[in-house]
């Protein structure tokens, strides 16, 4: 069966510091990978998605970037965090055949920028 791992679970970072969140998927090959952000009490905002190694699509221009160095690894980064980067960050995967398969989410990282 497939599993998704996301870490850390919580993170407190000062403004201006760098960020690196990592997500890995096990049990499948060539998944589609996604980064979402959820503000407190709000909906799901798609930040980035990837259909293959090195292929990143950005949905919202912002202070963040994403990379996919390996097939089942997805990394969310920032060089300098802003207060507005605080939120709940969720990694997700789906089967990458191009069809409409469901998303499977990790348990998220709660980021607080102080």
């Amino acid at each position: 069966s497939q599993t998704i791992h996301q870490w850390p679970a919580t993170l407190v970072q000062p403004v201006g510091s760098p960020l690196s969140l990592e997500c890995t998927v096990e049990g499948t090959s060539n998944p589609n990978l996604y980064w979402y952000r959820q503000a407190a009490g709000r909906g799901l905002q798609l930040l980035f998605y990837s259909v293959g190694i090195g292929q990143i699509s950005s949905e919202v221009p912002q202070n963040l970037s994403a990379s996919r160095p390996q097939d089942r690894q997805f990394i969310l980064s920032s060089k300098k965090l802003l207060l507005s980067d605080s939120g709940f960050y969720l990694c997700a995967w789906s089967f990458g055949q191009g069809g409409n398969s469901p998303l499977h989410f990790g348990n998220g990282t709660r980021l607080t920028v102080t």
């Binding site: 909906g43 799901l44 998605y49 259909v51 469901p102 998303l103 989410f105």
Partner: protein
């Protein structure tokens, strides 16, 4: 045209009652409609999904009703329980789209 509109934003139901959450879409190319359930501090989890070739799908106490002509679909939770208290998201996508369009979410509270 890519939006999915979800209502209500919040809902309070008594234990044993029926919870109903509605979603509407405009893009007639959408052909897959999942619902997600999210508990506080956790990622959303797939609850139930439907394709437009059926008008209803039931899994336990959870039922999706789908009205293709009205471009609407809804989630019904029968005999609602306090453990159903969570945020629910509807979503839609189409073949080859690679990503889901989510509704804004409904915070459901079941009072004991």
């Amino acid at each position: 045209q890519q939006q999915v509109k979800q209502s209500p934003q919040s809902l309070i139901v008594q234990k044993g009652g029926i919870s109903i959450i509605n979603c509407a879409y405009e893009n007639t190319a959408f052909d897959y409609f999942p619902w997600y359930q999210q508990f506080p501090g956790k990622g959303p989890a797939l609850l139930i999904a439907i394709r437009p070739d059926v008008s209803e799908k039931k899994e336990g106490r959870f039922t999706i009703s789908f009205n293709k002509s009205a471009k609407q679909f809804s989630l019904h939770i029968m005999d609602s329980q306090p453990g159903d208290s969570a945020t629910y998201f509807c979503a839609a996508t189409m073949y080859g789209a690679q990503k889901l369009v989510f509704g804004q979410g409904t915070r459901l509270t079941i009072n004991p």
